[in-house]
């Protein structure tokens, strides 16, 4: 007969307290999220509803938001297209060439840059503006996005490559593939969906960046920056509408990333 293991009472109490603590934290986060989303909805939807019904100007109100979203996505697309190959190359360098000191240094740099607050990156770029003296604010704005995105993508990619068991690489070598063939014919097809999900999550994170980009008053419409300016100028309803677009876009990106994840699990 199997004897049931008895835990001391204090241990049970401790477990309960810890569980309650985490449940409380989860509830708090949920309340915060619901309050933000609810507030945005409340501020946005009701005036739009009134204006579209009585003055038929709903589309006029929405249009600047859509335009700002379009600009934001365009900027993010440009930043991603430039950052992606560098991030991919860096991740391959630190995962597939593991021994040299250079690899160690690059890995350390990527780790530090991935964790560094965005404002510090922007300050560096701001200082760079004074040194070079020729770059426009727009270029610096996009460069900041790239530098913000690049280490996060590189670290994400590297983690994904680390996740591929070594024996698949060995098999590829054993059937006579070169390192390049191993990467492009074996490693990439195996990780493509995960890499895509990682790009989406990186983009979603960059979409929320505000503070570092405030340094560059470039006149570019970037949704989070616009929201900040609108709020400071007291245009709360417009800011709320922009926030709704931002929330909706992030939600879509996360849903797509989650769908990709599910496909990977399948």
């Amino acid at each position: 007969m199997v004897k049931k293991k008895m835990y001391p009472v204090w241990r049970k109490i401790k477990n309960k307290v810890i569980s309650l603590f985490f449940v409380a934290l989860a509830v708090l986060s949920l309340v915060a999220l619901v309050s933000i989303v609810g507030n945005v909805f409340h501020l946005t939807v009701s005036p739009l509803h009134i204006s579209s019904c009585s003055q038929n100007c709903g589309w006029i109100s929405i249009w600047p938001g859509i335009r700002a979203l379009w600009w934001t996505l365009r900027l993010l697309f440009i930043a991603s297209v430039i950052a992606l190959p560098f991030a991919f190359g860096t991740a391959l360098f630190i995962t597939e060439y593991r021994v040299t000191y250079l690899v160690f240094i690059v890995r350390l740099f990527v780790d530090i840059l991935a964790g560094i607050p965005g404002i510090l990156i922007a300050i560096v770029m701001y200082g760079f503006q004074f040194i070079v003296g020729q770059s426009s604010s727009n270029e610096l704005f996009i460069s900041s996005l790239i530098i913000f995105l690049l280490p996060k993508l590189a670290k994400g990619f590297a983690e994904i490559f680390y996740g591929v068991p070594l024996h698949y690489r060995e098999v590829a070598f054993a059937i006579g593939s070169t390192r390049m063939q191993m990467v492009f014919k074996v490693l990439l097809p195996m990780t493509f969906r995960t890499l895509s999900a990682s790009v989406l999550l990186g983009v979603a994170r960059t979409l929320g960046v505000v503070a570092p980009l405030l340094l560059f008053d470039s006149g570019i419409h970037y949704l989070p920056v616009d929201i900040y300016h609108l709020t400071v100028n007291g245009e709360f309803i417009k800011a709320a509408m922009y926030s709704l677009f931002l929330l909706f876009t992030i939600l879509l990106i996360y849903l797509f990333a989650a769908w990709l994840d599910q496909e990977i699990i399948k």
Partner: protein, 250 residues
């Protein structure tokens, strides 16, 4: 036809840690040579040196020579050496994102690129040799993950055989298989030795006795003894071999 493979004064290290000490072993053509020994005795490292896979490991070094027929494997291009000396690993590891067909064809595609014309024929030939064709011929485009573990291991053998190697290295090929699948793999090894020189690493002494014509006993990175399987198991020359095959240690 298989070719003779010879290791001459082979030593191998990982960083400062030497795991193989001056091992010389001749593996005759169309024979099955078993490498036996307790864990950590350098068996796997030895066969990984034979097809130059050892050098893909960071900080791994080796000295000595490996001869395939009259060619020095370490004077050849590493890629072509690995294509001539195929290898199957302990864990069945077909590429999960590829179909059964693609898993067998991948080696040929990597070697020949788009020049490969008779790919389907080659895949069928390899699967037939690996005794898998009748089981998968109607589902070649299915994912390899849908096969049983035993079938996956035979698929890995077919993948290695597709490149028509002269030598086939098997690193504990049945260690994760059930007894029935193990039997199928052993039968396959018996058939394959007519075409290939086979080197099998195993910790299963009964398996070595069943499949191997010749056996070498490794201990702590040294080759203690080698000979015909019957002689090594019944009348070993070295006390350590006798202790190992009689189960006193390991």
């Amino acid at each position: 036809m298989g070719k003779a493979l010879s290791a001459i004064e082979l030593s191998a290290s990982f960083g400062n840690h030497q795991v193989l000490h001056c091992v010389s072993l001749h593996m005759q053509p169309n024979y099955v040579t078993a490498i036996i020994g307790p864990p950590g005795s350098g068996k796997s490292t030895f066969i990984r040196c034979l097809n130059r896979l050892h050098e893909t490991v960071p900080r791994a070094t080796m000295t000595g020579r490996v001869m395939l027929g009259d060619q020095d494997v370490y004077q050849m291009d590493a890629i072509s050496a690995r294509q001539k000396i195929g290898m199957v690993f302990a864990q069945p590891n077909p590429f999960p994102t590829m179909s059964i067909f693609d898993n067998v064809a991948i080696g040929l595609r990597l070697r020949d690129g788009k020049r490969q014309i008779h790919l389907s024929d080659e895949v069928e030939r390899s699967l037939t040799i690996a005794n898998l064709w009748s089981e998968v011929k109607d589902r070649l485009q299915e994912s390899s993950g849908k096969l049983t573990v035993g079938q996956q291991q035979r698929l890995c053998m077919a993948r290695a055989l597709a490149l028509q190697p002269a030598v086939l290295l098997l690193d504990e090929p049945a260690s994760v298989l059930d007894p029935f699948s193990t039997l199928r793999v052993e039968e396959l090894i018996d058939q394959l030795k007519e075409r290939y020189t086979i080197v099998i690493v195993t910790h299963n002494l009964q398996q070595a006795a069943r499949v191997a014509d010749r056996t070498a006993f490794f201990l702590a990175g040294e080759m203690i003894e080698q000979g015909t399987t019957t002689d090594l198991f019944t009348t070993p020359c070295d006390k350590r071999t006798e202790d190992y095959v009689t189960g006193r240690f390991g």
